[in-house]
């Protein structure tokens, strides 16, 4: 599914929903960026920990899994807009019949996937209905 170093590099972001924010223009970034796309060279990026609440913009229910996610099907995948503004792609842990556009969600810490049998297990942020 992925390389260990690549995952390690973004551990803080994946475990704690840490992103970044540009002091110059105020834009929030998650997934984190260390270069502001608005200000480019004059931007000043600092870390920012997101509250973890947001809303579903769109979603799908995956029946044919991505590599490393075979034992999770069917699973829901959604684009979530965090309350601070940025959007991300994440699984949502809920009844597939209940998921809908506009649904309020909050971040939770869960297993994301694994590198085949006996391989590294990846943990990180998923989302669940806010009222659950």
């Amino acid at each position: 599914m992925s390389s260990v170093p690549r995952f390690w590099r973004s551990l803080g972001s994946r475990y704690n929903l840490e992103g970044t924010r540009c002091k110059e223009c105020g834009e929030y970034y998650y997934p984190p960026r260390n270069f502001c796309v608005n200000c480019r060279r004059i931007g000043h990026i600092e870390p920012y920990k997101f509250k973890g609440t947001g809303e579903i913009i769109s979603y799908t229910i995956i029946h044919t899994a991505a590599e490393g996610f075979e034992d999770q099907t069917p699973y829901t995948l959604a684009i979530i807009q965090l309350d601070e503004g940025p959007r991300l792609t994440s699984q949502v842990i809920c009844d597939p019949d209940k998921i809908h556009i506009g649904m309020r969600v909050r971040s939770v810490f869960r297993k994301l996937g694994e590198d085949g049998e006996g391989g590294m297990i990846y943990y990180g942020t998923k989302f669940a209905p806010e009222d659950s």
Binding site: P31, I57, S58, T60, A65, A66, E67, Q91
Partner: protein, 390 residues
């Protein structure tokens, strides 16, 4: 800048070509295009080849050199060969590089080719290679698949505009019908809306028949300065515009999930360069990697009002004989989608149509044609406009 013409074209058969290697199919397409143009090898100044993922699909990089070698363009001639990569838009981008080489005056006769051999690996490995065209770290690691990403485009399009699964299915039905008229198509069987709706769900709301297949195939074009094109052929087809635009690699970072801004901008640049409007275009080959992609494409290219792509398709306006025939070749859905070849294959189809050589799928009196090639979920879009008259 010089005007550029296409003087030779060739597609291989598209499909599961288990008996042939990448080098086999590229030579077949290249030699066919040269024969079509009536030229040998000595005139060729350079070669551009679109190939998305040779490293993943056949464990081979250095595809430019490989192709020059097996085309006989390395020995004695030492023709420069460059691989161009932009995921599924690699072919369209190879064409664009070739056009710029001729238009600039730097080269005269240039080959633009595209090729992918996808069935030498299993379908899981192929899907994983394709997923690399999205954001691996922030989409792939969440469990996103390519159908899943397009499914989220489809879901929001349905939610916002009332587009239905039946309307999506109509794209596949039309493209299979067109594919049944194309000798090179991977699928020549006609299907119904019910066939699509009853097929396996891959990523809700997309069924397997909403998705383009895994395909082997190669396509090639020969380009020349328009001023000397008649030396080679009676029916040169002219390039009126080449345009390209970029967007965020991840779908979640887009301004609007249901609009491919890269397509909108590339189209705007192309129309402006050609001094043409959507109404002037007689037919278009769009990037229908998924049925929803064709719906978005016809909206983003200006052939349907935003949100009306499904209705326009269901009304038959995009069928051969309709207001704006879309994907007369059968598209990626029925013709097949060898990712690096698709952008070149689209151009081959438009040239064939503008020459009036498309047989049963001929669009009568076609003067202007367009191609639209997308990389990933829209991080790259390449649009070309072609004309019969200079």
């Amino acid at each position: 800048m010089r005007d550029v013409a296409i003087i030779g074209v060739k597609n291989t058969k598209f499909g599961e070509l288990w008996g042939k290697s990448l080098r086999d199919i590229v030579v077949e397409a290249g030699a066919g295009a040269l024969e079509d143009a009536g030229i040998g090898g000595k005139e060729i100044d350079s070669l551009y080849v679109g190939n998305m993922s040779g490293g993943r699909f056949i464990d081979q990089e250095h595809i430019g050199a490989l192709i020059a070698d097996y085309s006989g363009l390395s020995k004695n001639l030492h023709v420069p060969a460059t691989r161009v990569e932009a995921a599924c838009a690699s072919g369209g981008l190879a064409l664009r590089q070739a056009i710029m080489a001729v238009a600039s005056g730097y080269n005269d006769i240039v080959i633009a080719a595209g090729a992918e051999k996808m069935t030498d690996v299993g379908s899981e490995e192929a899907s994983s290679a394709l997923a690399a065209a999205a954001d691996r770290e922030w989409e792939g690691m969440a469990g996103a698949t390519f159908p899943g990403i397009y499914a989220m485009i489809a879901r929001l399009h349905m939610h916002r505009y009332g587009t239905t699964s039946e309307q999506l299915a109509e794209v596949a039905v039309k493209n299979h019908k067109n594919g049944s008229l194309n000798p090179i198509a991977q699928y020549k069987n006609r299907i119904t809306v019910d066939d699509v709706l009853n097929s396996i769900m891959v990523a809700d709301p997309l069924h397997i028949f909403d998705c383009s297949p895994i395909t082997d195939g190669a396509s090639a074009l020969v380009l020349a300065p328009a001023d000397i094109a008649h030396k080679y052929t009676d029916t040169p087809i002219y390039i009126r515009a080449t345009a390209q635009a970029s967007d965020t690699i991840a779908l979640h970072d887009r301004r609007d999930i249901t609009t491919l801004d890269a397509t909108v901008v590339a189209a705007k640049r192309a129309y402006s360069m050609a001094k043409l409007k959507p109404e002037d275009i007689d037919l278009v080959e769009v990037h229908d990697c998924f049925t929803i992609a064709e719906i978005c494409a016809i909206e983003d290219l200006g052939f349907a009002e935003k949100g009306k792509g499904g209705i326009v398709t269901a009304n038959g306006e995009t069928a051969i004989g309709g207001r704006i025939p879309v994907n007369t070749s059968g598209g990626l859905k029925a013709c097949g989608h060898p990712v690096g070849a698709t952008g070149i294959k689209q151009a081959v189809e438009i040239v064939t149509q503008l020459r009036g050589e498309a047989g049963k799928r001929q669009v009568e009196g076609a003067e202007y044609g367009m191609t639209h090639n997308v990389g990933g979920s829209g991080a790259t879009a390449v649009v070309h406009i072609f004309s019969r008259e200079r």
